[in-house]
Structure formats: C-alpha cells, structure tokens
Symmetry: C2
Subunit: 712 residues, 2 copies
C-alpha cells in the first residue's frame, strides 16, 4: 500500500465543504449528531445535508444526492444503513468528492456477507479515486479547524483544540480515553477512529495528523495492523519531526488475542514482533490507559531532556525512595548530585532533610517558601541532572504559594520539570497546567512519564547521529546463491548443508562440514576435517535431530565416524520412517562460545524481521528473544541484543571471557540483508545454534534451517 | 521482641484519657493541632493539656506535669522539643501512663547524638512499662473512636471512620496517600505513622489494628523492618482473620552487589527476601500508590472470589482485549463461557457484540437498559466465572440508568463484581460506592484489583487446607552433626566434605566423595568409587574452584586421578597463595539432571530463609531465585519453585524428561529444618549445584559450602 496522497487527506481532515449523507435533524441520532456538532462548534466551511426525504435539515438546504450539490464537496459523512452505503459512495465518486467517512456498521465485523459488501465499497472508492475512512467508525474530529465529522460522545461538551492527536482502532474505548484525558486537562487536536480500515488504515491516518505542526504528540490505540511497514515509515518520520508516537497495542497475550479476533477483522501478528519493532523505531508503548495519557501530557508540555539523569526533589523521604526504585527499574539514572550542588543544598535544606538525590526538602518549605524554589533550581542546574521531578503531597492550605514558586522555577528552567502532586487541589493543577507545567497524580506515574521523555529523546539523538547501517552492497556470492534458490521455486525446506552454504554466501561463518553417504566416507571426512567432530543425520525432514537420537557429538577418533554414521542413520529411519534420509553430515565440533539463536521470518505485518535469542535454556524456558524489522542498522542490532534479559551472559559470567558481540552483530546484519534480498523466496530461517566465541574469536553457525516459500 | 501486650495497645489506640504534653492553644502548631482535632471531632474521653506555662488551654484546665493530673491517663501525646522528651516520658512513667506517642523530631534521624537520646528515651519507657510510638512521628488517628493523636494534615477536614487501616513508616508520604484515597472515597478507620520505631515497630502497630473487627483491610508502607519475624506472625494472623495485608515496600533496588563467600549470603536483607516472604505469607505487595489504594477499595467492598476465573463484560471490544491481556499477565483466567451461557447471551447481546468472554454488549445497552443487567447476571452465573468486571466509558447522559442496573445486579450477586468506569461522573461513582460497589477508573487497575482479591482468597483457602509442613521430627543424625559443629564455635567456613556430611545427616542425597592428600590416594579413591569421577581442590578458602582452574571433571581412568590431583592443587596454590590447601576431593561424577542452587541464610529481618534458583545461566544471568522463611511447608516450597521464571526447565524442555520436583522439595524442606535447628550456628549455606534427576531419580548435592558464625 502506498502512502495516501497528502492532498486527499488534506481535504479529508480539513474540508472546505462537507456533505452529510443520510442527514437528520434528530440530533440524538448518529445521522444528526455530526450536523449538530458542526453547527454548534462553528465549523467555518459549508455543510450540505443529503437526504431525499427532506428539503431542509436544521435550517440548511438538503439535497437528494451528493451529485446534486452545486459547489464542490471535500468530505462526505456517510450515515446511512449498510445496504445503502455502496450507492452513497458511488454518488460521492460521481460528484468527484475526494474523501468520505463511513459511520455505518454491518460490514466486515458481521461476517462473510458484510465482508463482501465492505470489499465492494472499498473497490468502488478506489476506482473513483476516493479515500475512505471506515466503515464502522465513530468518525473523527479536527478541533483546530472545528471539523467534527463524528457522532462520538467525545464531541459532546467542550472540545478545545490542543497538541494531542489520538488515533484509535476502538471507537468506544478511544472515546473513554478522550474523556479520561480531558479530565486531566489534555486537549485533543485530533481524535480519529479508524473503524474497519477498508481503505485508510491506522498508519495512514496517524501519518497525516503527525504532519500537522500544531500537534506535539500522536497517541494511538491498536489491536492489530494491516500494514506494519507503513507504520515504520511513519515512525521514522516522527523521529525526524521530533513528535513522539505513543501507541498502546493490545491483544498481547493469548486470551487477549482471542478477543481481538472476535472483535475486528484485524489480523494480529505475534506481539513479540510488535514489541521489537516499536523499540527499534522509537515508538513508545504505554502499559495502560493512564500511562498513555500521562505520556501525552508530558510531551504536550515538556521539552526533551538531554540524557537519563533524573533529579528527585520531595517533601517526603518515602516518595523519594519510591521514585528512585522506579527510576532504576525503568532505566533512568538517579545520579548523586555534584559536591557543589550538595554543598549549596546544605545551605538551604534543613539538617533532617537529604541532599544527595533524592533531595528531601522536608515540610520546612511551607514556612520558608524560598526553600522550594532554591532547592529545585539547584537540582536543575546540577550537571548530572537532565530532568527533574518535584513530589509533594496534600497541601491544600499552601497551594497558591507552591504554584507561584513552581511557576517561577519552570519559567527559568532549561531542563524539563515534572510535578507529582498527590491529591492536588483542582485549582492548583489547572494553574500549573496553564503555566505549561506537567502535573501527574503519583510518584510512580511521574517517573514513568519522565522515562518516556528520556527514551524518546535518546531515539532522536540516535537518529541524528546514525551508526552506519552496516549493510553495504549485497554480496555477489549471496545474490548468486539466492538466484539459484529462486530458480527452483515452491515451498521446501533446506537442511543444514544448503542453509549453511547460503549463510556462508552472505558472509556468516559456519562450522566446516562434509556430506557423506557411507560409513567409509564419514571416516574419510573426519580425517580431512582433523580434530573433534560430530556426525548428524542429513535430512531436512527431521528438524529436531537430537530428539531423534540422530546426532553423535564429541568424537575424536576418525575410526568412530563409521559406526556413528550407521547409528544416526538407523535411528533416524526408525524414529522417522517417513522421512527421506540423504546420508549424514560430518562436521567439525565447535564447543566454545555462547549459544545464540538467530532467525529470520516474513512477518505478515512487518515483512522480513530478524530474531535473536540467547540459546539453550534461556530461549527454551524464558522465550528470551528480540525482534527487529529488516533492514537493521548496526545500532538497532546492538540494542536488540542488549535488550535481551540474559544479555549479561555475553559479557562473561562464571569466569568466562566476554563474547564477540561485534561478530554477533555482523551475523544479524547479514541475516537482515538476506531477509531484504530474499523477500518472496525465504519464508523463514533459523541458525540454531550460533556459537559466539570470546571477543575477537568470531561467531560460527553450527546448524541452520531455511524454509523457502512462495509469497513472503 | 515479643508481641506487645494487647492491653497496653488497647489503651494506646482507644484511650479513655489523653494528656497532651506541651499543649498549646495555637492550633496551627504541632502542639496545638491534636487538641483542636480532639475537640472538633468530638473525642469522648478526657483531654488534659500539660504545660507549666499555662493554667488553661482552649478552655481546658492545664496541668504542670502529667503526674499532676488527678485521674488516670491512658495515652500521652508528647509535643515538646527533643531535649525535653526524656523528662516527659519519665513523668508519664511516674504517673503510670501505659502509652505515649512522641511527635518530637531531633532523634535517630539526626545522627549519633540524636540516636543516643532516642535510646535513652526508649530505655526509660521500657523500664517504666510504657509503650511508645515514635519519636519523629505524625502520630495516629483512630477515627472510629475519634482519637486524633496526630498533627498530620490527614486530620484536617472530614475524617469519616471506615474499613481501611493504614500504617506507614513515612509520615508525609502516608498523609499524601490518605488524601489520594479519600478523594477516591476510601474511609480510613486508622492512620498510623510509626516514626523512628524506638519501641513500637511497624509490625506491632499493624498487628493491633488488624484485630479491630471494624477493619476490613490493613494497608502499610515500609522502607525496612526491624523485626520481620513479627510481621510474618501478623501475616499468619491476617490469613486466619481473613483480613488482607496490603503492604508497599520501597527501597527495592540496591546498587552494587556485596561481596560474600556465600552466593545466598549476598542476598540477605535484599528486596528479593521481602518479595519471597510476602508471597509465602499472602501479603499483597502493590506496585505503586494507586495500586495500594485500589486494593484497599476492593477489599473494603468486595467479598472474596472462589477462584481465578474472571468474567469480563464491556461496551467496548478494545477494553475487553486490554483487560484479557492484563488478566493473563497477572495470572487470572479469562475462561471461555459455557455453551449454555453463550447461548443465553446470544439472546440478549446484539449480533455485532461478543459472547465468549470478554463479552461485548456494545453501546446498545443505552437503548436497552435491561441488556446490561441480563448480560452481567448471565456472566456472573457462569460456573467458570468467580468474579467479574464491567467496563464502561464516558456515559454522562445515561449514568443514572447504569447505576440503577449495576445496583440491582450487585444486590443479587453472590460473586464479587468490580466496575471500571473511565471518567465516571462523580455522582455515579458516589452512588455506586454507597451501594457497596467498587469502582475503579481504568480497565487495567480493575484487573489488578481483581487479581488481588483472587490471590488473597487463594492464600486463605490454602491455609484452610494445609498440605503438611513436611518437616517431621528433627533427624537424630542432623542433631548430632549440629552438636559437633556447635562444639567448635566461632566464624569459619566448611568445605564440600563437611558441608555434604551435614547435609547427608539431614537426609539430603550427596554425590559420593573421598578426601585425599596425595596423587596415589586420589587414584585409589577413584578406583573405589568406580565410574566417572571429578577431582577438586579441597580448600574452604577457595569458594569458586572452577574459576581457580582447580577442578578436573569427566575423568574415567583412575590413572588420571594422580596427575589431576597435582594439577588442581598446584593451580589453587598459584591462584590463591594465601589459602590453606587441605588436599583434594575425588568425587563421583553426576552429570544428569537439572542444575539447581539451594541456599540458606540468616536474614537480618526474617531469620533463617531458604533460597532456590535454577542453576547455571538462569541464576548467573537473571538472578532467577526465590526465597521463603523457614520453616517452610511443602506447599510453600512448591510455590517457591513454581514461581521461578525458568520453572518450566524442571518440566522437561528440549526433549528431556520432567525433573524430580518432589525430590527437590524434600531438599528444600531439609534445608529449612536445618535452618531452624541451626539458628545461631549456621550463618549461610549453599548447595551449588544440586542436580535434580528425572522424575523418580532423586536429587544429588554435588558441591556445598557452609558458613558458621556466632549470632545468626
């Protein structure tokens, strides 16, 4: 899917004239509510009700069809029963309208018949060059321009414009989030429900609102994606613009996945892939509703910090410890303040306070208002502090004084400052927000928001100084190997020998091996390899050879190769009588190094994605793996590895030397390149194990498997 | 420390007469605020201001000293400067007052001098039989009986009595939590700040409020404990009473690992021990402030569920997916509803809804109010559902109708029902609370609260049907071995041989070994053992023998034993020239089985605690270990093992058979017994590795280390 032409979405989101197909002057109805919203909120463009039953609706001239409207129409709001939608869209196309939002339900969400109708509607739109949002959507609001093309309750009451854009696949849940957010003082410039996504998808809509410079943060809620690659492009653009994407993705676990399948027609890919590519591309993924709204608030108001050093100032030691805990847990530093800062703080903080970080100014600041201000200013000036949180509790009586001090500190600060105020008086919260200060209700949530700011800032810095993509030009040997594979198409599986050949062509080190078809040949091969060797059955139909007792390892005497050959082939035949046996492989034994699994898979959402996991028990017992979309940069590959829970194994534990991380990254980049080159040919690839030797020793693929297929 | 006499705390928490030492009629002062609170709130007992400066305070007769008060005094509130506190306490003792709460700061929190003063005050109290809370405390409130012995802002405004008791080590943070909780409609029957805990500790105070039958949930906030064992007793009592303890423990993460001979010893006092004993004893540990308050709300209002089956009913598919995700993450089941329930739901839920669980009733319930009620009743009746959550979003206009329906459902339900209502109108929230329904603001928080209910209920059921403590009588051999160790006291470390002897005396299987002091003896020992063997240096001063290259494993030929002896002793001498070398150990090789680490340590808070971890890379790279306080029950030991992140390794991965879990539990129980028996003698013990063989094959300790010490 190509990105939507910007012009079409410009007229979708900022129409100069809107037709409401099926318009009603019953303002409680789905077909009446947008008309009321547009009139009430002062939409400046033209509004054309369309309904053959009426000559006028709410005092506006009503047309029998869109085609009958004399002037141009930019956006059609379609609020007619499902069976009448196709005709309505054809009418819009006849008129030359570039965009429509279709509220009507009764499509893909209702089963096969609805799906067919939806496909027909989408096809008609596509043929007519009309971009369509929906069907089965609450519509959207662009409150900057007072375009309320929605019947959502989010349009009720005040709808102030503001820096938050929110695109959601779930209408009802999205509406609830807007309500929660408004209660916390968030102002939504955009609220968009993508509905069934027959034409415009989540990423298309997200990508457009991102371009509006009045938007400072783009939030999203998804259950699955039709076109993950488009989202990755949007994420790149978001980093370029410095506008964060904050996207809650649900359907993470199996019970949730079941609910998603029954809810929308969305195809849910593995959540681990989402987690990986979100991390890779700097998309922030809040854990729940409040975390999403907190991040929206923080990015609306705060500048980005220059690093991860968090200064904590409290009037309560307890909150300080809690915040320091949480900071360490999420990966923020709480650096001890410089000797200078501490000395200066000691001059203002009472002796029973604390000055190292967290700084506890104690309740004394009530009696000495200047204390709060001095302490915060000192902490914000400390060279190790990149952003700060001030925590305070119940303070009804002195709220005005606290607000005045915080306003002053904030006005003079160049680093971001968040306030965590438990049970803050409503007036104080509002006053702080109006002064541009982000106020959150708890210590933990403030730290999480601070972490979001720091994480996104880090992604931006990383993007500004990329560390080479490590891809280089496609290796000629690799291209040739792929060409040979493509020459014999159709689904099939390559065993270790061919798989290792392909990997070697891409520059991956593989353990030397020989294919043999007799015991005598096995002995000769063992002699030729020299040193310890292994004998394994050669059959691509038996992926788990150890379980089939079809592997002999740790052999030293070439004379042992013959009997080993006989055993492994006999065992394989006995355990897998159906499997074709090609003989056996004699391979040099590589035993030193950390066991790693590297994989490649064509993901339905994100295309070729690379996987890495620490081998053996960590993968088996903990599924400790990370994903990234190809092509990977070297830096992205590094972050994948460093993000593994067991990553410290590579650093050397139990007296072992550190592993050759750079060699592992080389392999990930080679597989990434292969994934891009082989789109449509290689469906999946496993290197298991890859042994990563001590630093400088490289990495060696010991076994591998490649699944070839048709469409990627 | 023995539990405080109930009578003394009865008069502390429910005094019939209160003296306020240092009383002032300046009600803005620390010394004036409690007087004002007691007067304003209608405290029914006698109030006696004590201050030599005044004849009367606030219209009450003022006495020059506590002794001068004519009638009895149950509680003294001490609000004088630190230097005057000792005299005040002696005055109280002279009067025969049984209890005091000391607001004054300037004690242990101020350094050595303050610490000495605090010790003197505590000693005076102890000598005089007076129980003391503080110093450096905000005091406490018992709002049931209108006893406001506090100057906290938590006493300002309305202080309605209610089922939540809250004991906190942090005054300011605790006050903020009370404010946050009241905002959510929580009513605090007790609010207690334990201050410096010179006498009464956190667990003492917690234990007393737990006994008040008007209290339904006891919340706590701690940074550390003086007497963890007392907390464990309180936790047992809480399970007996069915009143949950919900305790936030901060100071979770500690930078820098301590060097210690014993792996387990390094973790003593760490947060992992807290986590383990909390889990063992059914103490719920919320992750942040809001989670604590949510649990307090849920336990205040909800009965306990009979199991972990969660029914989810929503008007938004999105919220359903989010809740199902979260439920799976925390360990609640979201069972597919029975065919009968689904069929019945299909009769009421619109076709574009969902009926499997989550149930999506769609926005249709606005038009058909009976739909909400029918669907919820059907879900609550489903045999797989033990508790249910109803989620809804923004619904200003129809709130009354929703409230009425929920009230009806709740009144007729025998299972707990929670409501998650995003941006609920305040009136609706209040109405639901008054009807006894717990309302939380987000989907995620409702699931977390539901999980708390289910987890505590499970602990209660487990307690009602204990699975034998597995301890039995102390083995005679063990007692004898311990007696020998005690006969030679003083700190020292036992090497593998003696450590394994001690373990064997407690019934733990150990790999057969021989101690040798020459190469020839080593060869003879190897011949005697028969089969594969290992040779390791014998030196208790070298705990990490592999790193010292002082181990040779996998030997088969007894002739190899002599050279191996020479190598390991030479390497040990070279790497550790300071270490005394006793010769070497020749031991049978045990290689099959899952590698496990078992430990025992005398924890400063909780006494003897047992540790278990999955060996090798999981312990090294992930610190995947669990703790439990001795004595363990078999069920507790089982939950420790099952709670390990890598627990599935024991179930058999990569084609291996399941491990002998019961044999591992036997070892944990033996070590637990040893920990209890050896209090004061054994400071720490490591079995590393313990190899747990395939089911039925038992478990074998291959290496072990025991640290003997003075005080445990």
């Amino acid at each position: 899917m190509t990105p939507p032409p910007a012009a079409a979405l410009e007229r979708f989101f900022r129409p100069r004239a809107i037709a409401i197909v099926g318009a009603s002057d019953d303002f409680t109805k789905i077909s009446g509510r947008p008309l009321k919203f547009l009139l009430d909120k002062g939409y400046a463009g033209q509004i054309h009700p369309v309904n053959p039953k009426y000559a006028a609706v709410a005092g506006l001239r009503c047309y029998p069809s869109v085609s009958a409207i004399p002037g141009p129409v930019d956006l059609a709001i379609v609020a007619v029963p499902a069976r009448a939608v196709l005709a309505a869209i054809e009418d819009c196309v006849a008129k030359g309208a570039p965009a429509a939002v279709v509220f009507s339900s009764g499509f893909g969400e209702m089963g096969d018949e609805g799906r067919a109708l939806e496909a027909a509607v989408a096809a008609a739109a596509r043929r007519g060059g009309l971009r369509l949002c929906g069907p089965n959507t609450l519509g959207f609001m662009n409150t900057f321009d007072r375009v309320l093309a929605t019947f959502s309750q989010a349009g009720d009451g005040d709808t102030p414009p503001g820096p938050v854009a929110f695109v959601t696949q779930s209408g009802a849940f999205g509406t609830a989030m807007v309500a929660l957010g408004r209660r916390e003082g968030l102002a939504f410039g955009y609220f968009v429900n993508s509905g069934n996504e027959a034409d415009l998808g989540f990423a298309d809509l997200l990508g457009w609102v991102l371009e509006d410079r009045r938007v400072k943060v783009v939030a999203g809620y998804i259950e699955g994606l039709r076109d993950g690659r488009r989202l990755l492009d949007v994420a790149d653009r978001a980093l370029e613009l410095g506008t964060p994407l904050v996207i809650a993705k649900v359907g993470r676990l199996t019970a949730g996945a079941r609910a998603a399948a029954s809810h929308t027609g969305a195809l849910a890919g593995s959540d681990r892939v989402y987690a990986g590519v979100f991390r890779q591309k700097g998309i922030l993924r809040p854990s729940d509703e409040e975390a999403l709204l907190d991040l929206a608030a923080a990015f609306s108001l705060c500048r980005l910090p220059a690093g991860r050093g968090l200064g904590l100032v409290t009037q309560s030691g307890g909150a300080g410890v809690l915040m320091a805990d949480r900071a360490e847990e999420v990966g923020l530093a709480v650096p001890e303040l410089s000797a200078e800062t501490q000395a200066a703080l000691r001059g203002v903080v009472p002796p029973f306070g604390a000055v190292r970080n967290p700084v506890d100014i104690t309740a004394q600041f009530i009696a000495e208002p200047a204390l709060l201000r001095s302490a915060l200013e000192l902490v914000l000036r400390d060279p190790g502090v990149d952003l700060a949180i001030f925590y305070l509790g119940l303070m009804e009586r002195f709220a005005d004084q606290v607000v005045a001090n915080l306003r002053d500190v904030h006005a003079g600060a160049t680093k971001p400052l968040l306030v965590a105020w438990a049970a803050a008086p409503e007036g104080a919260r509002r006053a702080l927000r109006e002064a541009g200060i982000c106020v959150l209700p708890t210590a933990t949530r403030a730290v999480d928001a601070a972490h979001g700011l720091a994480a996104f800032a880090e992604h931006r810095r990383r993007r500004a100084a990329p560390v080479g993509d490590g891809g280089g030009t496609p290796p000629a040997a690799g291209a040739a190997a792929l060409a040979r594979l493509r020459a014999a198409p159709g689904p099939r599986t390559l065993g270790a020998v061919e798989a290792c050949e392909l990997l070697a062509a891409y520059g991956v080190g593989v353990a030397r091996l020989r294919r043999v078809t007799s015991g005598a040949a096995a002995a000769a091969a063992a002699r030729a390899l020299g040193g310890p060797f292994a004998v394994k059955v050669d059959s691509s139909a038996i992926p788990h050879k150890t379980e089939a007792d079809a592997v002999r390892v740790g052999l030293r005497d070439p004379a042992a190769a013959g009997p080993a050959y006989d055993e492994v082939t006999a065992n394989a035949r006995r355990r897998h009588p159906e499997a074709p046996i090609d003989g056996a492989i004699v391979q040099e034994m590589v035993t030193d190094g950390v066991e790693v699994v590297v994989g490649l898979v064509q993901d339905p959402q994100f295309g070729p994605v690379v996987m890495v996991g620490l081998g053996g028990v960590l993968v088996e017992a903990l599924e400790d793996v990370a994903f990234g979309a190809a092509p990977l940069t070297r830096d992205e590959a590094r972050r994948m590895v460093e993000g593994l829970r067991g990553a410290r194994v590579l650093g050397g534990v139990r007296g072992r030397p550190p592993a050759d991380l750079e060699a592992l990254l080389d392999v990930l980049l080679a597989v990434s390149r292969l994934g891009v080159d082989a789109a449509g040919a290689v469906t999946a690839l496993d290197i298991n194990p890859l042994l990563v030797r001590a630093r400088g020793g490289g990495a060696v693929a010991v076994d591998a498997l490649v699944v070839l297929g048709g469409a990627g």
